[in-house]
């Protein structure tokens, strides 16, 4: 008997050369899709790069470029920071700005304020975070969500670069004893 044609997947007899897993994992995290390019899996590399970078850039654009920043002072920011960190090098400027502004206590951020945390920790200064929310309305939240999900999706891509795809077992294929009980028969 044949397996159910509507099953999710069948086994794919594909040889996957993961090369050096450590290198693939690191560069897959640093730049989405780069680990798969290193492994020669170009189709999946383009897919991951397009989807994850596209989602991240779309989120950044939607939120006016203000949705990605790292801050130790802004309340409730840590979850977004952790999720966005999944996209690797794209958030390095945010970490640099956090060190520059909040740890080294420099007055002016680098890179003309690109990915800099909002300046709302000084009571005498204006509340930049509130201004961003006011300027972009719901798009600020949507942009933050998109960039967080892009980071989480890249974690899946990193896992795929490290260990290969998690093939889905066809659930409709079961082995049962045949009528004469001397061998297994596929049903």
């Amino acid at each position: 008997m044949t397996a159910d044609k509507g099953a999710v997947s069948t086994f794919e007899s594909v040889e996957v050369n993961l090369k050096d897993r450590f290198i693939a994992t690191v560069i897959a995290w640093v730049l989405p899709g780069a680990g798969h390019f290193y492994q020669g899996r170009h189709g999946k590399a383009i897919l991951f790069m397009t989807c994850i970078l596209g989602l991240f850039i779309f989120g950044m654009t939607t939120g006016g470029g203000k949705v990605v920043y790292a801050s130790l002072n802004t309340e409730g920011r840590k979850l977004a920071m952790i999720c966005q960190a999944g996209v690797g090098a794209l958030v390095f400027p945010a970490w640099l700005q956090m060190v520059h502004v909040e740890i080294l206590h420099k007055q002016e951020p680098l890179l003309q304020g690109f990915m800099a945390p909002p300046r709302n920790f000084n009571p005498s200064s204006r509340d930049e975070l509130a201004e961003w929310h006011y300027d972009f309305h719901f798009k600020y939240e949507v942009g933050t969500l998109f960039t967080m999900i892009a980071g989480l999706l890249n974690i899946l891509a990193v896992y795929d670069a490290a260990y290969g795809p998690v093939f889905v077992t066809p659930h409709s294929t079961k082995m049962e004893p045949s009528s004469d009980n001397d061998w297994l028969q596929e049903v």
Partner: protein, 70 residues
């Protein structure tokens, strides 16, 4: 009277922001389950349909609740 906040949201196209999310999540998740492109696209399509279907059911339930009780 049908004067739904959900319906207004739909008309103002805010729900369209879900489209890139659905596409990206479906493709990336499917790509972690297969190696070849055809099974990836097939799995992604089924997953996208499932997500949209689930969202539609939730939308209808919320719409009916709002229409019935508000």
């Amino acid at each position: 009277m049908i004067n739904s906040f959900l319906f207004a949201n739909f008309l103002s196209l805010r729900l369209w922001y879900a489209l890139p999310l659905v596409v990206a999540i479906s493709l990336v998740y499917a790509a972690t389950r297969h190696e070849l492109m055809v099974p990836i696209l097939q799995h992604a399509w089924r997953m996208a349909v499932g997500i949209v279907g689930f969202m539609s059911i939730v939308f209808v339930i919320l719409f009916l609740l709002e229409w019935k009780f508000l």
